[in-house]
Symmetry: C2
Subunit: 556 residues, 2 copies
């Protein structure tokens, strides 16, 4: 027996054909800074202009199937056109992260071998200084106004986006592709080492976009409008543009206007029902609305990812503005939808909170397991912690190893021997499948075959009135492998380590309590504001911290 | 460049693993006839029992990968177990339609080469008489109470379901399958010729189940309860059991209790928010509730498929009970989700009606085109009619040609040369993608390169007070190919053909008006109550109708 089903590949061209016909009248709105004059384009127009862009890239710029084309752009309609045209014509969309340090930006352009870069005019000051080191870039396509004189000395040919596509045919005979063909490329912004590239396939993009629209995830339908604040250079904008092609929801895009005042204006005038963003943008919005109120009543749901949303921010959005935050967890390697949090039914609002604060549940496309300190699988009991490993059709199985490679790179610290992605996140899973992340694997303290959560210790320390800030890091220990070192910023005066240790002892087992203590002036942070614990570990290793050890052996 | 995504197949085993862990506490409730004692089983239990069933089938009954196992069962938890275990173990689930005439039931069991049949005890009176002709059936597994003496003379070995699975391991090492492997088999209940088999793949079942859960379709999430009245032997129960594994909604199953009183009791006591059914069941429910009111307030949405829901029934459910009907169109060959109807946003309730009465929009998985009378593609303008052809990953590309075949059958009247499914339905599509079906292709009148809708003529005729019923069929015409013959059942007295023709002329073009008229006593109907126009065409061909021809040439 064999299946009698049609063998139809899941491709971006197919998604574009659907979106630009069935949802012809849905819109992509790009903010211009002027609330009275947003820029609107229908999905039908996006379809026609994507065809024109494909013709221009193929006929004028020599883009062929599997060519990699970089985009250095804000969230706008032209970026959506690149999202559609490049994969549909068989090329690979490489979204370049505007926030990367210059040396990493140059690295990824070279590593991906971008011959063509589409760039917003406003971003030219970022691109121009890099070009001297980028000899293989042949074409630069500039969209929107910008100072073209910045490109005066460039070796690459410079084109204006609108002139380039004008007058070309508005349909394109998209090639027949295999759904496993490469469609898009994103690099991680790894804080250590070179960025690593994840190559999405047509299949992974299509399946992931279906999941975005599923009722348990973002539940989009035609007629909804979503404000996609998540940058289009972050993990394909969490799949939003491709998901919009499937179900026809309207996209509202901020372009470069990410200031709280603009965001509040967008919500008030365009009335999106949904937004997708990292938490900091909504922290800013909350202040903005307190100072200059707007009508944001249309907005009911915000999907927050990138990092966990602090509970006070979640509660404030809920109580002051009726905006419900839904957590999502993911990473570049997971396309990114790994979980979305929707509490189980039948709970009171207060009972829902622990679920809302969790990372949520895995969709069927994402299989999960927790690997404990000894390498075995941990039970889903809500308390046994392990490193999260995931498997699924939109999960990376390796990294792009660069031009000429025939195999992905599979570093052992990122991929298990049986092919699962090691996420580097440590947490627990409840019997009903809710993930609660507690630590990054690199920050967890591995002590005598058990794990001690640095985040839990920090939370408890900061709950003590004498502590302004605290970071806990692992330091080497002959007997136990690692032990926790608590680095405390006192609220004022000197820290009373013994009192703090007793405070922790009220909640934790004896072996979890730090015996090593030090006082610091402030917790060092990364460029994006996260605790930079590797600085503390290095300072400790160099003997740069004055450490007090309270008890010689914590297990006695 | 190549994709770095994991290559994970979309299989039923994967769906079952997800459903029985992440949604371990979701439930399958089977109605027992007693509102106080429904039978409940969690998804975790379904998972364990599916493993037990698989062990029993493999170790005891010799079921191997690609074996076909028939189920002759109502909607109940054991049928869900067969839906899970058979595809997951690599076998093929063949759902047998209880309503098929005996000779067709025997035919499909033989054609599929079922060696094992799982049957509900209550259905044994249907199966027992067939067995003498079914020498290749080796095992009969009986679930639930029934008169086993009916099987006394059977050649096949008889097993009791619960005894067979009891004590076996509750986990199973599901084999690694290709997602294109066969998973399930349904035969059409074609009114002409032998039933035709559609073989679903793991891939088609998984993608279709994702679509069922998408917000634009049935929008299920964990915590929802859906009353699946659509028989599990109809197109895999519209994908409901497999969709439940993905998103964890609860299944409420009627078993054999399909009487309106039982349905009302199920809704009142189990409080489903959704139901899926053919229209007639809800016609019956409406009468039941009028006579014996129940609290059906939990039920807000009913997905109606199989045939269009009459507008008065839709309005009555809405106005009297706050139950909103959503149309879906599909067929065995489309898995079945072909369209679902959700009106565009921003309309008043009255403006929504034309959309609600349409068949709805195609999801991204279903590409559509309309092929007109001359074989060319028709525009989507809401008025140009054509035969609907569809393509997609859950659409059939052929029929199962029987044991030993290596290629599907692709009859030219069902599949276009380029592989699209010819649905046999005729209709229009609006510019925004809403399908309105008007006729079956075999009933449309093909006249001089144009199509005349028999259904439209019938509707207008029945709108005239002198007409009780009317059917319009095509009769051969030398000049035009075909012309309409109006067959009228007068309300009383004799029909005034000229007056009726003038009545039609108020709405239709001259060339669309029937010139041939006859009076009949009643419109012949098929066993399921639809107009049986082939009887009228045959009667005409045999000269059995007295025909009056009003104008010799309708185009002058």
């Amino acid at each position: 027996m064999f299946s009698t089903m049609q063998d139809v590949p899941l491709t971006v061209a197919r998604m574009l054909r659907h979106g630009s016909t069935i949802h012809a009248t849905s819109t992509v709105t790009t903010w211009t800074g002027d609330p009275a004059a947003p820029h609107r384009r229908t999905f039908a127009e996006i379809g026609r202009r994507s065809a024109q862009l494909a013709h221009a890239l193929r006929d004028e710029l020599g883009v062929t199937p599997r060519s990699v084309v970089g985009t250095l752009m804000w969230n706008n309609a032209e970026h959506v056109e690149a999202y559609c045209a490049l994969p549909a014509m068989g090329a690979v969309l490489h979204t370049l992260n505007l926030r990367l340090p210059a040396h990493q930006l140059r690295y990824v352009i070279q590593h991906a071998d971008d011959r063509v870069i589409i760039v917003n005019g406003s971003v030219l000051p970022l691109l121009a200084p890099l070009l001297p080191g980028l000899d293989r870039v042949e074409h630069i396509v500039v969209s929107g106004p910008g100072d073209l004189s910045l490109l005066a000395g460039a070796r690459a040919r410079v084109h204006a986006y609108e002139e380039l596509i004008a007058g070309r045919p508005t349909t394109y005979d998209w090639p027949q592709l295999d759904e496993r063909d490469p469609a898009a490329l994103c690099y991680t912004s790894g804080t250590t080492g070179d960025p690593k590239g994840t190559v999405y396939s047509h299949r992974s993009i299509h399946l992931h976009a279906m999941q975005v629209n599923m009722a348990e995830s973002m539940a989009f339908t035609a007629g909804d409008t979503s404000l996609a604040l998540v940058p289009m250079f972050h993990v394909l904008s969490w799949g939003m543009p491709h998901a919009a092609l499937l179900s026809g929801f309207n996209l509202l895009l901020p372009d470069r206007f990410l200031q709280p005042g603009h965001i509040a204006d967008m919500i008030a005038t365009e009335r999106p029902c949904h937004a997708a963003a990292v938490p900091t943008l909504f922290q800013g919005l909350l202040h903005e609305l307190a100072e200059r109120p707007r009508d944001v009543s249309a907005l009911t749901t915000v999907t927050i990812g990138g990092s966990a949303c602090p509970e006070p921010l979640m509660r404030a959005l809920d109580e002051r503005h009726g905006i419900r935050v839904a957590h999502a967890w993911g990473m570049t390697e997971t396309s990114p939808l790994g979980t979305t949090s929707q509490p189980p039914p039948g709970l009171t609002p207060e009972e829902e909170w622990p679920y809302r604060l969790s990372q949520g549940r895995f969709p069927a496309g994402v299989e999960a397991r927790l690997i404990g300190p000894d390498g075995t699988e941990m039970p889903w009991d809500g308390s046994s912690a392990g490193e999260l490993e995931v498997r699924g059709p939109w999960i990376a199985g390796g990294y792009w190893a660069g031009a000429g490679s025939t195999e992905p790179e599979r570093p052992a610290d990122r991929f298990s021997p049986d092919g699962w992605l090691r996420t580097g996140d440590v947490g627990t899973i409840t019997p009903d499948g809710y993930l609660r992340l507690t630590d990054r694997a690199k920050d967890v303290i591995k002590s005598g075959g058990e794990w001690i959560s640095s985040v839990e210790l920090e939370g408890l320390l900061m709950g003590h009135p004498s502590v302004r800030e605290a970071a806990v890091v692992a330091v080497p220990d002959e007997r136990w492998g690692e032990r926790p070192l608590a680095c405390v910023v006192p609220a004022d005066g000197e820290a009373d380590y013994a009192a703090l240790r007793d405070h922790l002892g009220e909640k934790l087992a004896r072996w979890q309590l730090p015996e090593h203590w030090t006082t610091i002036e402030e917790v060092p942070r990364t460029s994006v504001g996260k605790y930079d614990k590797k600085v503390l570990r290095a300072r400790y290793a160099e003997g740069g911290l004055t450490v007090t050890t309270l008890v010689p052996d914590p297990r006695q």
